[in-house]
Amino acid sequence: MTASSLTGRSGARIESRNLKAQLRRTERRRKLEAAALVAPLLIFLAVFFLAPIVGMLIRSVENSELPTTMPETAAALRQWDGIDLPPEPVFASFARELAAGQRDRTLAGVAKRLTYEVPNMRSVLFATARGLPETPNGTWRDTLTARDKTWGDPATWAVMRRAAAPVTPLYMLASVDREMDASGSIVKVASDRAIYIDIFIRTFWMAAVVTVWCLVLGYPLAFKLASLPPRVSNLLMILVLLPFWTSILVRTGAWVVLLQREGPINEALQWVGLISEPLQLVYNRVGVYVAMIHILLPFMVLPLYSVMRGISPAYMRAATSLGATPFTAFRRVYLPQTIPGVGAGCLLVFILGVGYYITPALVGGAGDQMVSYFVAFFTNQTINWGMAAALGSVLLIATLLLYWVYARLVGIDRMRMG
């Protein structure tokens, strides 16, 4: 090898290092530009989407009532080993903070928190606090026990100790029909109070039924739309999207009118002679399904349509020219190519369906309410944020799980939303 070729090579190396630096510089610029473009949306999402979710997750385990109102008692309770009754200092600080709370009217939160575990704790707490002496009559333990014998029960203090912890599994357990017994182990709640598991099953079942129906109704529709000339299919697409132009409340209300006992559907069926008695179509499961399918159908049709539009008719022709019957051609050539659309549509409808609230609330009966109804109930009626957040969290976790399964089965990169 000659000298000139050697210098030539090192020259090339320097050249390539310069090139790399240059590339990095331009790449960095491009990345900055890209970041600047998505930043507004990211910030929006972080503030209005991620933060509330994180807030909800925190709320579902938050246990701040006792620690904020009675910080010393809470600290003392956390020191205690939980065996039998707590030592006198716990009683003492509890009595002091109870009196203070009574004076400052800050006991309501603690009372509510305790009733979640022991229903009559509210009255016990207020009865004890009312006119509590400044100094104990003997020990504080005896004094309090004398005022209400509940304070002499180790089970009460087990509850108090759980209420003093920084976080509580109480709500999460309750949303899956579980609770902690006095010894702290997780047990099923009494069967008359066990409702949430059933409600979750019902919620997922109803969303699944709606999804299947949307697929069954939407697939042929999307297929037909995709095979029409664009002018016609665009027009029909507007009809499919028409429901989006009215509020969900109005649409649901319209279904109540249509489906009620004296509504046009029942009257038409009676007039034709198909039925002699009006059918119960509303305030039951049928009504909920009809209204939900109507509202969610476009979310199935849109991704299906967009995927099908992209499938050239030449594939089906090719398949038949190769000897496949029309059915085989559909099954082996067309259908597999629509799977990304089917996946996207089903996921969309199912996730939206799982979170449905207003439609079941308006069109359904007592047995047709979904999880969101109870979330709303705990938020608006009983102001039990912990329970509301826990139910929401379980729903979120279950949905994410489902999404994960879907991603494993179909592959998220193959999904097309439209």
Partner: protein
């Protein structure tokens, strides 16, 4: 099958009976205009027949009727002597290569090739065997596990070809299969397809609007225009003896001169050009004396000046443009009514004289000049 008696009466297995036969086939999509007008066409077994014509002339439509994707409005199509009206496409056993290949995107190359075999319920071992053979035929052995999207255009084209052949169809249809490839690859694939055709002996009906492609590959070419076959012939006759002006213009380079027939005698005619000169030509598609006609002369049949001594025709011309092409010269001349009269001159030492503005004389034999229908 539900067919008329005539379908059975024909000798289905006679060796010289046409493989494919179009009989008075007509097709209209809208009930107003005929896209295919009275198509009569016979294709021999093992023949490579090309349908050539401008866009919209009904080539694809004819092919689709043969494949079964379109129904003839009237007339009959016969395959091996039997009418195939009412036979659905998947029972016709016709291999087909589509313009954009239509390879199934969700299947690998091997799965694509196995598709026609597996729908025929062939045993696994045989499928593998045949797929392997087909891949070797198109030189893609190493690509069996790729998806179509991971192949180049030429490779996709070969997969499409292999897929149309893998189930041993007797007839293969190709609709502009090379249209999406660049020129070099196209020329390469033309030869490859031709070799495959020769080695397999299948009947091929090939559609293109590229005349060079048609001339290179075909046994016979059917030239389409406005839904009518203008001429059907072997490539050299089509080029040398076009039977009307459309074919003469569509195939190869052509010089046209307008004129009026003076007289017709013994297959020859004398034609008066617009500038008063007279030409002796072969009468192909001319009417009576006094009717107009278009003369057609190929550029390479024309000789200039002294070289043309003794030819039937000698006309005055003027050089408008001189294009140097290495081994030959191309001259654009003004002759009679035409001012893009092209001539090919072999490059010789005296070529220097043909400069723009020079007056020359152009000469050709009566056999090389065809009097055709006026345009």
């Amino acid at each position: 099958m539900t067919q008329t008696d005539t379908s059975r009466s024909a000798g289905a297995s006679a060796p010289d009976s046409p493989h494919v036969e179009f009989k008075d086939v007509r097709k209209t999509y809208d009930g107003e205009t005929l896209v295919v007008k009275n198509l009569n066409l016979q294709i021999r077994r093992g023949e490579f027949l090309t349908l050539l014509g401008p866009s919209g002339s009904g080539k694809t439509t004819s092919l689709m009727m043969l494949a079964g994707f379109e129904v003839p409005t009237s007339g009959d199509i016969r395959l091996a002597g039997r009418s195939i009206a009412g036979l659905p496409p998947h029972k016709r056993d016709i291999g087909m290569v589509f313009q954009n290949y239509a390879l199934f995107p969700h299947m690998t190359v091997a799965e694509n090739l196995a598709f026609p075999l597996s729908v025929r319920k062939m045993p696994k071992a045989e499928i593998e065997d045949r797929v392997g053979k087909a891949l070797r035929m198109v030189h893609l052995e190493k690509f069996d596990a790729r998806r179509p999207a991971e192949l180049s255009g030429g490779q996709q084209q070969r997969v499409a070809l292999a897929r149309a052949l893998v189930f041993d169809p007797q007839l293969v249809l190709m609709d502009e299969p090379l249209g999406a490839l660049d020129k070099q690859l196209r020329e390469h694939m033309q030869l490859e397809i031709k070799h495959i055709h020769e080695s397999l002996g299948v009947t091929v009906v090939y559609v293109t609007h590229d005349q060079t492609e048609a001339l290179t590959m075909s046994d016979r070419i059917a030239v389409f225009n406005h839904g009518v076959i203008q001429q059907i012939d072997v490539p050299d006759r089509l080029y040398q003896q076009p039977c009307n002006s459309f074919v003469a213009n569509f195939i190869g380079e052509n010089n046209r001169l307008k004129g009026v027939v003076r007289d017709v005698a013994g297959g020859k005619c004398r034609v008066d050009l617009t500038n008063g000169e007279t030409v002796l030509a072969t009468a192909v598609a001319v009417g009576q004396a006094g009717e107009t006609t278009t003369l057609s002369v190929r550029p390479e049949r024309i000789v200039l000046d002294a070289a043309g001594v003794g030819r039937d025709n000698r006309l005055n011309a003027r050089v408008l443009e001189r294009i140097y092409l290495g081994d030959h010269l191309r001259l654009r001349l003004a002759v009679a009514d035409s001012d893009d009269f092209m001539v090919k001159v072999p490059f010789a030492d005296d070529a220097q004289v043909f400069q723009a503005g020079h007056a020359v004389s152009v000469c050709w034999a009566a056999e090389d000049c065809r009097a055709l229908d006026p345009v």
